[in-house]
Amino acid sequence: MKAIEVVDLKKYFGNTRAIDGLTFSVDRGAIFGFLGPNGAGKTTTIRCLMDFIRPTGGQVRILGLDAQKNTVELKSKIGYLAPDPRLYDNWNAKEHIRLIEKIRGRSNRVNDLAEKLGANLGDKIKTLSTGNKQKISLILALMHDPEILILDEPTTGLDPLLQNTIYEILTEMKNRGKTIFMSSHNLAEVEKICEKAAIIRNGQLVAVEDIRELHKKRIYLVEARFKTTVDREKVKKITNCEINNLQKNSITLTVRGDIDQLVKLFAKKDILDLTIEHAGLDKIFMEFYK
């Protein structure tokens, strides 16, 4: 049995087709990325999974149960994290936890999670930073050790340290057999922790890729400045590199796929400055999923 099965899912808002015939499935015990640029329909899909909104057509099954008809039963097995905190400003974290415990029963994971995340449970939510609010939201999503985690852009706006802590927690959950469904518009993030990813654009599925396949579709934007002259011919020999601009001592180029060869080449020279950026998802889509 699949953890999540989405079959021909459609959600229209008037004339706007937010999702238009989406079909994919997620294996149990996997970390599944749900990748797409802003406005692609990721959040709408997640809202259908969570039964916040009702599909225009199609079917969503989670753990073999209908996501709409069996929503109450399913939610006892699902932990949900929104892209930005949905917390009560005048409460503190303990009050949120108490409310959830009264609904779902007592949790013995709260202290562990709070310690791991470095979360302060006593301060009012309105006094907390975005990162600290997200920590509280994560505790609320994880405190009952759900079988399935549905995360909508969980690391957006967070500092790299907190991002890494979240990745560690997710990996640890996966190792315990939990299923994680995670939306993102950050390819590097999905590559880092997911095994498989569905890629959507304009509400339609573009591809479901194994993460190794996705890795080949990376695009790097590289800018380097050297003490000595750049050897154009050596760079040109690297087949997946495209030179955008070449000066006497500097070069800017686009690398598609593996960057290893280029870095090894650069390492032989005296580098004054080096910038390597991941291309945005939009550019990757233009290149690979036209």
């Binding site: 009702r54 109450v72 939610k75 949900y80 949905r86 917390l87 009560y88 409310l99 609904i103 609320l140």
Partner: protein, 270 residues
């Protein structure tokens, strides 16, 4: 269900206490000045005699001399025809408007929807917690007459106050249910407040207009303020039977419709 119910009450506790203390302060003032008004009833009646009859009718004053004879007459005119309904409306509109539309606007509704409880349970918890707050407000303000009358040595007729308590509950309950309906329909508090207050203002205006011209008299039947007849409840110890049907019907109808809309609608926070 109990968790959300109790939490909602806790969140509204301070503001509800402010409403209750504010209204009791006014009732205390009316009760405190009533003995001296009673002593000067004739002089005051003469002084008010110069006021236009239609204006007095608009404010529910039909017998000026009687107004100072009993505390019930005095409170019916001074408190329950104007101040109490305003406070009651403000309280129920603020609670009802926040209960769903406010939660959607502040995105906190997702925290509740992500839990293993049905939307109907969320709705019932929210609705009845608000209703209980209003019952407490009505009981505490109306029955504050008991200790206050004793403090100031004023005679009162408990049965009449019980009537205004029932009528007040029906009146406020109907407005609360209408506000909850708008709250279930919209995703912004401002819209829920706007439409609820709009309905109330129109009904208030209809009641005033109907008392000014005979050919418009039937418009009063479209107004809650016609059925919320404080004079009749407190002075005559009666409630118009139609008030039970109108307020009760609107309460039940609006609440069922609100529950249906909330359980079926798309809830998107942004």
């Amino acid at each position: 269900m109990l968790a959300i119910f109790l939490r909602t009450i806790k969140d509204r506790l301070v503001s509800t206490l402010v409403y209750i203390i504010g209204e009791i302060s006014f009732i205390w003032m009316y009760v405190a000045i009533f003995p001296s008004m009673e002593d000067q009833a004739d002089e005051l009646s003469q002084a008010f005699a110069a006021y236009p009859e239609s204006l007095m009718k608009a404010f529910g004053i039909t017998d000026m001399a009687a107004m100072f004879r009993k505390i019930e007459n005095f409170l019916a005119t001074e408190n329950y025809s104007f101040l109490w309904p305003i406070l009651a409306v403000a309280l129920v509109v603020s609670i009802g408007g926040y209960s769903i539309a406010g939660e959607i606007e502040r995105k906190t509704i997702e925290t509740l929807l992500a839990q293993p409880i049905s939307r109907i349970i969320i709705f019932i918890s929210k609705y009845f917690s608000g209703l209980l707050i209003f019952v407490v407000f009505t009981a505490m303000t109306v029955f504050s007459i008991i200790p206050l009358a004793k403090i100031h040595g004023v005679d009162y007729f408990l049965e009449a106050h019980t009537k205004i308590f029932i009528l007040g509950l029906l009146f406020g309950g109907a407005i609360y249910s209408i506000t909850t309906l708008f709250s279930a329909l919209f995703s912004e508090r401002a819209k829920a407040y706007f439409f609820s207050v709009g309905v109330i203002v129109v009904m208030y205006a209809l009641n005033i207009v109907s008392s000014l011209k005979d050919n418009l008299a039937d418009l009063k039947y479209l107004s809650f303020f016609h059925y919320f007849n404080a004079n009749k409840a407190l002075v005559d110890n009666q409630i118009d039977p139609l008030a039970y049907y109108i307020f009760g019907g609107i309460m039940i109808g609006s609440t069922l419709l609100a529950a249906l809309i909330f359980s079926r609608r798309n809830i998107t926070v942004s």
